[in-house]
């Protein structure tokens, strides 16, 4: 394992220190892995988070119009209930706190328990669960779809709703509607290496790639041979479009996300390909992003997220926002 780190046990505090030093609008809650805005606002506060290893998520999306705080656990491990509760307390307003949680047992339990404890302290707290990984069939026989890169667009919609002064129930409802409208699928060209493990979580042959993998290096749904960018884009979009029931005439936002080690050259080629494919399907891409939003450490590959939008949701995506890792859609 070759990584620009000092010690696997210190990657999380060191990178968070780096982030807040580079982001004058952010600060670190002392003795914790909770990052929050320098100055808090009135109204509903948004808290996100999860295991580390997804940088720039989640702390990179803190700022006006987006999140109020993010709680980071160890690499690929949900933060503890106490850590989440600390974050909630730090940003709570009388309007309450909405927790944006990805669908993993650990995150659900820790954020869920923390929300319960917060309510017991008199802080209105609600939870939404993001489950955008359309690679998987959801059902009673499993823990449901995972939350992956589309989470970033949920942050944006909820952040704009909160900034617009909506109450907790209304912000929650908008976030849940955005989640229902969202689907994502990823392709990995290489596995990722957890610093503490020191070696890749799985191995792929010279020409093998993995479709529908998770953002923690969990196995995907299918291992296939390497194919062209156009072909892979088609496979990812076919699945998301089918699972989310998208049809010609629908309007969507498209997020092309680097899983960690993908060069800009390749992201741009995939973005071009995805735009052409959606156009051919008669699906209108109202906004598009291509960049590094939510990663699996150093995995090579990308994910494509589609969120169905109407004028109201588009306005949320377009609303002014400023955070270290946020860029306006085009």
């Amino acid at each position: 394992m070759k990584k620009l780190i000092n010690n696997p046990v210190s990657v999380v505090p060191e990178m968070l220190e780096g982030l807040v030093r580079l982001s004058p609008g952010l600060r670190l809650l002392s003795d914790s892995h909770v990052v929050l805005r320098q100055t808090q606002t009135e109204g509903v506060a948004l808290v996100s988070g999860g295991g580390a290893g997804h940088e720039p998520a989640h702390a990179g999306f803190i700022g006006p119009g987006l999140l109020h705080a993010a709680v980071t656990g160890d690499v690929f491990t949900s933060p503890s209930t106490d850590a989440v509760l600390e974050a909630i307390r730090a940003v709570a307003t009388p309007a309450g706190v909405l927790l944006i949680v990805k669908n993993y047992t650990g995150d659900r339990l820790n954020f869920g328990l923390a929300a319960e404890m917060a309510r017991a302290e008199g802080i209105p707290a609600e939870v939404v669960i993001v489950d955008d990984d359309t690679a998987l069939e959801a059902g009673p026989e499993n823990a449901g779809r995972r939350g992956i890169a589309g989470t970033v667009l949920v942050h944006k919609v909820a952040g704009a709703a909160a900034a617009a002064g909506l109450d907790l129930a209304a912000v929650k409802a908008e976030a849940e509607a955005a989640i229902a409208a969202l689907g994502t699928m990823a392709v990995a060209l290489s596995p990722c290496t957890v610093p503490a493990a020191g070696k890749p979580g799985f191995t792929l042959g010279e020409t093998e790639i993995e479709l529908g993998l998770g953002i923690h290096g969990e196995a995907g749904i299918r291992r296939v041979s390497m194919a062209s960018a156009d072909r892979l884009t088609e496979i990812l979009l076919d699945r998301v479009v089918a699972q989310k029931g998208l049809r010609a005439g629908d309007k969507v936002a498209l997020l092309v996300n680097n899983l960690g080690a993908t060069p800009v050259m390749e992201l741009l080629i995939v973005a071009r390909s995805a735009l052409a494919s959606l156009e051919a399907r008669g699906i209108s891409v109202e906004r598009v992003w291509a960049g590094t939003f939510l990663t699996a450490i150093d995995m090579a590959g990308c994910s494509l997220s589609l969120m169905k939008v109407d004028a109201a949701r588009l306005a949320r995506l377009d609303a002014p926002a400023s955070a270290p890792a946020w860029t306006p859609g085009q």
């Binding site: 295991g51 209930t81 106490d82 499993n142 823990a143 503490a196 969990e218």
Partner: protein, 203 residues
């Protein structure tokens, strides 16, 4: 209690390896961290009762380790400790109530049913075996030995299950054929707790 902390710390490599087969390979890391910290805190105390020890362990898991096991084992130990509250020594009835409270905590939080390929598949047969032995008039020690056997069998039975909850459930049929990591740590925990009590009862 020290035995408990030590065995989890010692076996963390094995636990992560099992988790790696169908999960993300960090079960040992998570558990090892929590039990190491709890062990240090316990060693710093002049003395403590079993319920106090369990409470400290539960607190540590809840506040310091995160992941899915932090809350699940955290409330498991916390709720077991509450049942015993104030007791200095415990009898078979206390032990049975303690297991019931632990199981209720885990199921209340994680909603896993027997057969879902989790630690529940160790706790349920272990406490059933214990209660059955007591009902048959066996001694506390004999009942604890029955629990140990049943825990190990429960773990072994997870091998042929398909995961229905947690990370491994996304693999569907592909999760069959390997042990469950949480069940493996739970077997260690129950067997070690029982062994400690058996030793204590013998003196």
């Amino acid at each position: 209690m020290f035995d408990l902390a030590d065995i989890i710390v010692r076996e963390q490599g094995k636990l992560s390896e099992i988790d790696g087969q169908t999960g993300d390979g960090d079960h040992g890391v998570n558990m090892g961290k929590g039990f190491r910290i709890a062990g240090e805190r316990l060693r710093a105390l002049p003395s403590f009762t079993l319920p106090e020890g369990l409470a400290l362990l539960g607190d540590t898991l809840l506040s310091d380790i995160g992941g899915s096991m932090g809350p699940l084992y955290g409330t498991f130990f916390t709720d077991m400790s509450e049942v015993l509250d104030g007791k200095d020594s415990l009898d078979a009835a206390d032990f049975s109530a303690m297991l019931a409270a632990g199981l209720a905590a885990v199921q209340g939080l994680g909603e896993a049913k027997p057969g879902d390929k989790t630690l529940v598949d160790v706790i349920v047969p272990a406490s059933q075996a214990f209660n059955a032995a007591v009902a048959e008039g066996k001694s506390f020690t004999e009942a604890l030995e029955a629990l140990q056997t049943a825990a190990a069998a429960g773990l072994e039975a997870t091998r042929d299950m398909v995961a229905k909850v947690g990370r491994a459930s996304r693999l569907g049929e592909r999760s069959r054929g390997t042990l469950d990591a949480g069940a493996a740590s739970c077997d260690m925990i129950l067997e070690t707790l029982a062994a400690g009590l058996i030793k204590q009862l013998a003196t």
